[in-house]
């Protein structure tokens, strides 16, 4: 898994966009958390761009859930953007399409 982070200051606060790339499985979840969680903890709105993630397993889905719940605790939000068809299928299998913020 590789990633790129961009940040911009908007009127309603700081938005951090994280572009993840590759396959998200148990082997890389700790790295994904290290990339994502500090921005949520800092109270930023986090946009997770998953257009280049072609595979995600239950470990990756757990990171999405944990990120979402952590953001709610911090009064901010995580928006999942440009999710690939294959990953969307896994999100839907987990019945999370109405729970996570998908755009």
């Amino acid at each position: 898994m590789t990633y790129k982070v961009t940040e911009e200051a908007l009127a309603h606060g700081n938005v951090c966009t994280i572009f993840l790339d590759g396959e998200i499985d148990m082997d890389v979840v700790e790295k994904a958390k290290e990339v994502i969680f500090p921005h949520i903890d800092a109270g930023k709105e986090v946009h997770l761009n998953l257009s280049q993630v072609q595979y995600m397993d239950s470990s990756g889905i757990s990171v999405l859930i944990e990120s979402h719940q952590k953001a709610l605790e911090k009064n901010t939000k995580v928006i999942i953007k440009d999710v690939s068809k294959s990953v969307l299928k896994v999100i839907m299998m987990a019945k999370l399409e109405q729970i996570l913020n998908l755009e």
Binding site: E23, M26, I65
Partner: protein, 143 residues
Amino acid sequence: MNEVAQANHTEKKAFLVKSSSLKDVRTFCREVFAKLQIEQNLKDELVLAIAEAAQNIVKHAYKDDPNTKDIMVVKISCEDNKLQIAFYDRGTPVDPKKVKHREIDNIKPGGLGTFFIQEIMDAVEFKEGGKPWINHLVLTKKL
């Protein structure tokens, strides 16, 4: 139902029991399913189910031995349009009665791997390992 009649075929491969092997497990599955001409959607689902089962071996059967040098074996067989995927490992014995996924409406991290396996496969069976193995999991799917 796959429109291509599947020729009988069996392949197996051993992997070190560690999380970095999961990518290799997926690659092995994709290669075998390409030979079997399984269509993309089903292939993606099967790869997910198999990778989740392999992950369960790493995460649960070897929970107390994260630096193990043991191997696990994945065997994919296709006979009479029935796909069978067998897993063998020498980790902590699995109690099938304790293998269950979380309630799907109780949204929290974890507990989804077994749910995915059960959603995708037709049958999930824990069998006697037979020496030298301890655990022997068999997943089946009619093609």
